[in-house]
């Protein structure tokens, strides 16, 4: 069977969960091989992790000439690896940056590209959610090496022991690719909560919070959830943009989404409509968000959320 390349999603060598989901999907298309672009000293540690999810090989690419730049060098590195391996497909975790890497790679490899897949079936047929989650589309790459970016939470990771043998892969990055430079980077402060896009539960707040996210955060912590927000809350300066859910923020697809004081505009729905279970607290019973919910409470979030948090903590004992 041909290899399927899976780009490892990691921060400083720490492998993130979407990687395992992608390896699970990759096994439907061929033999998964993981690609580690990072500090060579961290490759072995990452390989230990991914071999439990079916990675036969781990290609280690030194990121010395890659990390200081935007997108283009990563695309060149993957192009060179793909040229050697001739993979059946290349899978990347759907992030803003990886979609751009995939776009450039598609042009280089003269291959079709599918972004934001939520499933990949045998034979490479992908499922995507389109038009703000209003439609589902199935698609297939018909030219070249399928390049597919896959959203977090698209598959339940299946453990499957494999060799995970590390192979160094040397790349040559052109000067032309090193033209957009990362001048400064301020890593996000760890909140101690799960990553918004990966979390199983997301608790969000909107304009209805009136700027006080304490109740939203309290509930999030009782549920072990990530915190999200509407654009109105972000535009008001109550919470940084990185917490925004929606068309121009993050797309989330958790097991449970709790929308508090969020009216449910189409642009917000675009980012959360595919959540498995949806709950809303809103004082306006006409709020469009209630059209989406499995359970809704018409009430003031400032009283409902603290009471709910207390009730949950009580039940947890």
């Amino acid at each position: 069977m041909s290899e399927v390349l899976v780009l490892i999603d990691h921060v400083g060598g720490e492998v993130k969960k979407p990687t395992y989901e992608l390896l699970t999907l990759a096994a439907r298309l061929g033999t998964p091989s993981a690609v580690f672009i990072g500090d060579p000293g961290q490759a072995a540690g990452a390989a230990e992790k991914v071999k439990a999810y079916g990675a036969e090989k781990v290609y280690a690419i030194d990121d010395a000439q890659i990390k200081g730049y935007l997108v283009a060098p990563k695309a060149e590195a993957l192009q060179q690896l793909a040229a050697q391996v001739a993979p059946a497909a290349v899978l990347l975790p759907s992030s803003a940056e990886n979609k751009e890497v995939a776009g450039r790679l598609a042009i280089k490899l003269e291959s079709g590209l599918i972004t934001d897949a939520v499933d990949i079936a045998d034979g490479g047929v992908t499922t995507q959610s389109v038009f703000a989650g209003g439609f589902t589309a199935t698609a297939k790459v018909t030219k070249g090496t399928p390049i597919i970016t896959v959203k977090p939470n698209s598959a339940a990771p299946v453990e499957s022991a494999a060799a995970g043998s590390v192979e160094q892969f040397a790349v040559t990055i052109s000067d032309a690719a090193k033209t957009a430079q990362i001048v400064a980077a301020q890593p996000r402060k760890a909140s101690g909560r799960p990553e918004l896009t990966e979390a199983a539960i997301v608790v969000s707040g909107g304009r209805g919070t009136g700027g006080d996210f304490t109740a939203v955060e309290g509930l999030a912590d009782a549920l072990g959830a990530a915190v999200g927000a509407s654009r109105a809350a972000v535009d008001s300066g109550w919470i940084p943009h990185t917490f925004q859910v929606g068309q121009t923020g993050k797309t989330v697809s958790p097991q449970l989404y709790v929308a508090n004081g969020i009216s449910g505009a189409i642009q917000h729905r675009a980012g959360m409509q595919t959540s498995k279970t949806i709950v809303a607290v809103n004082k306006d019973e006409e709020a469009p968000m209630f059209e989406l919910v499995d359970f809704g409470v018409v009430g003031d979030l400032h009283t409902v959320l603290p009471a709910l948090t207390e009730e949950i903590n009580k039940r947890k004992g």
Binding site: L70, E100, I107, G112, I182, F295
Partner: protein, 266 residues
Amino acid sequence: MNIVVCVKYVPDATGDRSFEADNTVDRVGVDGLLSELDEYAVEQALQLKEKRSDEEITVTALTIGPEKAVDAVRKALQMGADKAVHVQDEAIAGSDAIATSLVLAEAVKKANGGAVPEVVMCGLASTDASMSVVPAMLAERLGLPQVTQASVVETQGDQVRIKRDGDTATEVIGGTMPLVLSVTDQSGEARYPSFKGIMAAKKKPLETWSLADLGVEPAQVGLSVAWSQVEDTAPRPPRTAGEIVKDEDGSGAVALAGFLASKKFI
């Protein structure tokens, strides 16, 4: 200096959007408009021009799309762009991002007398397909750096600095013109066309080009040569109506806790 700003004509997101029998987005039977996200690109192009008032800067709005798509560049002219180009050709219908970026790349060059302009400005994403890949593909095709998803744009001479919310960090990215720049909806409110702007737009140059004008073969674009094919589209099944309760004296929280427990979330 020349700025070409790429704007897309998209179906109105608040209306009923649908697909044609061949699974392409229905762009003809529905109301459309200049993609809201591309208004931010026009705004940043105009601000760049205004901030560098000692230079001669031409802002050209460029769109690819069906007949009605001309509305997108018209709006850009009303906002203040100097000229506009509408690429329209039967053969383009159904093109994927790969073919779109091919046509855009040729049109960007032609709009600038054959050379790449100092700045190719794009929006964050089109509000219909929403792939956010065209700017990267355009950069690849034009052999340019991409400085994308900017929330703040600053330039000095041929140097460009942007701020953006990266996936794991807030970043400052630097690049040298010529380059492809894309901006987010955090970059600053887009202006409304003034009455004067609307009147002035009527006299501004607006050209319509076909594929032949660009030297692109019809066989290179369109649905039939797309590198990926949509096999099927279906409306998402409506969610079954959920239970809605009114909170009275704390009853809402208890009911909600009961629901969450029944679903094993607590």
